[in-house]
């Protein structure tokens, strides 16, 4: 048996014209579109159905907490794309540093979300209070789980990147993280801003 290393066959696949890791990431994103898209579409459907009542419920969400979280995620996306740029230049240490900043911002996002959940549940708006709040907790909770998953993956990739290993993965986790950001960009106006309608 030969001791020499070989690049995994899947990583050199040419039929799709792009590295398999990135192709796989795009497949994940595509499936996530259906999951989050279905959730958002269902929310819009019921929002149209129960217009005024749901608008009055949306007034109880904390606009500035949601805005702060949007700011945090946009900033984390900026760091993620800078990490990708650093990885592309072969600077694994810088990429790792930027990824750790992204993780830190992800943790900040979760802290703000935890504060929101606490204050809303304390005020009597729990997941079972009404369909609006069920949608709110399911959508933001599922999104939060994606943030946690992204942070864990990012930590593993950043650790590797700091040793200059597997730098191509930085781009893949970047694509995933930007998608999580895009989902929040849509959740923010739905739950926090549209109360005036």
């Amino acid at each position: 048996m030969s001791n020499s290393f070989h690049a995994p066959i899947a990583t050199g696949r040419e039929s799709a014209g792009l590295p398999a890791g990135r192709l796989g990431t795009w497949w994940v994103v595509a499936s996530e579109i259906v999951i989050f898209g279905g959730l958002i579409a269902s929310f819009i459907m019921y929002r149209l159905r129960h217009g005024e009542f749901w608008a009055s419920q949306a007034e109880h969400t904390k606009l500035y907490a949601g805005a702060l979280n949007t700011f945090i995620l946009l900033t984390s996306s900026y760091f993620a794309v800078c990490a990708h740029q650093a990885a592309q230049q072969g600077n694994g240490k810088k990429a790792a540093k930027l990824l750790f900043r992204t993780i830190l911002l992800g943790a900040g996002f979760l802290c703000v979300k935890a504060y929101e959940y606490t204050s809303e549940i304390t005020a009597g708006y729990g997941p079972l209070s009404d369909l609006f709040w069920s949608f709110y907790y399911i959508s933001t909770g599922l999104h939060g789980l994606h943030v946690i998953a992204g942070m864990i993956m990012m930590a593993i990739i950043a650790k590797d990147a700091s040793k200059e290993n597997h730098l191509q993965r930085v781009e893949c986790i970047g694509i995933y993280w930007h998608f999580v950001d895009v989902v929040w960009i849509f959740l923010f106006p739905l739950f926090y801003i549209a109360s005036g309608l």
Binding site: P8, A16, G37, S56, L63, Y78, F179
Partner: protein, 148 residues
């Protein structure tokens, strides 16, 4: 091969990573110019500010139609622009292989089909042997009672 790997046993980076800008490793065609990520980030923050304060300021508008249009544009319209910017410039969809964009569009179309298929049952409250209004209990009283 454009995404050929270095001589490292396990690949570290496609060799092209070391020599060309980010967008070109994805590209079918190379764009002539690429705004810096910092500029895109600043624009995203400006749009975020508009999407926050636009609807808040719009609440002062008395005309209901103008109010709804303003909120829809400043909240959701700008949301779409922000999402488009992140997808295009941060996810590099603008230079990614075309079939990736098509793949994402197919998923969006499936989602819209789901919406279109189910929406009439939800949005039309009365039908044969059903009356959604009589079954839906608005829980505001329940919440108020709970609080007191």
């Amino acid at each position: 091969m454009w995404f050929g790997y270095s001589s490292s046993p396990y690949f570290t980076l496609p060799q092209v990573f070391n020599t060309t800008p980010v967008h070109s490793m994805n590209s079918e065609k190379k764009p002539s110019s690429h705004p810096t990520y910092r500029n895109i980030y600043i624009w995203l923050l400006i749009l975020l500010a508009i999407s926050i304060w636009g609807p808040v300021l719009a609440l002062e508008i008395e005309n209901r139609t103008v109010l709804v249009c303003t909120v829809l544009f400043t909240a959701f319209g700008i949301g779409f622009i922000k999402a488009g910017m992140v997808a295009s410039w941060f996810m590099h969809l603008n230079t990614e292989k075309k079939f990736i964009t098509r793949l994402l569009i197919v998923c969006l179309v499936f989602m819209i089909l789901l919406f279109a298929g189910v929406a009439p049952d939800v949005l039309i409250p009365k039908g044969q042997n059903r009356d959604l209004d009589s079954n839906y209990q608005y829980p505001s009283k329940k919440i108020i009672n709970k609080k007191h």
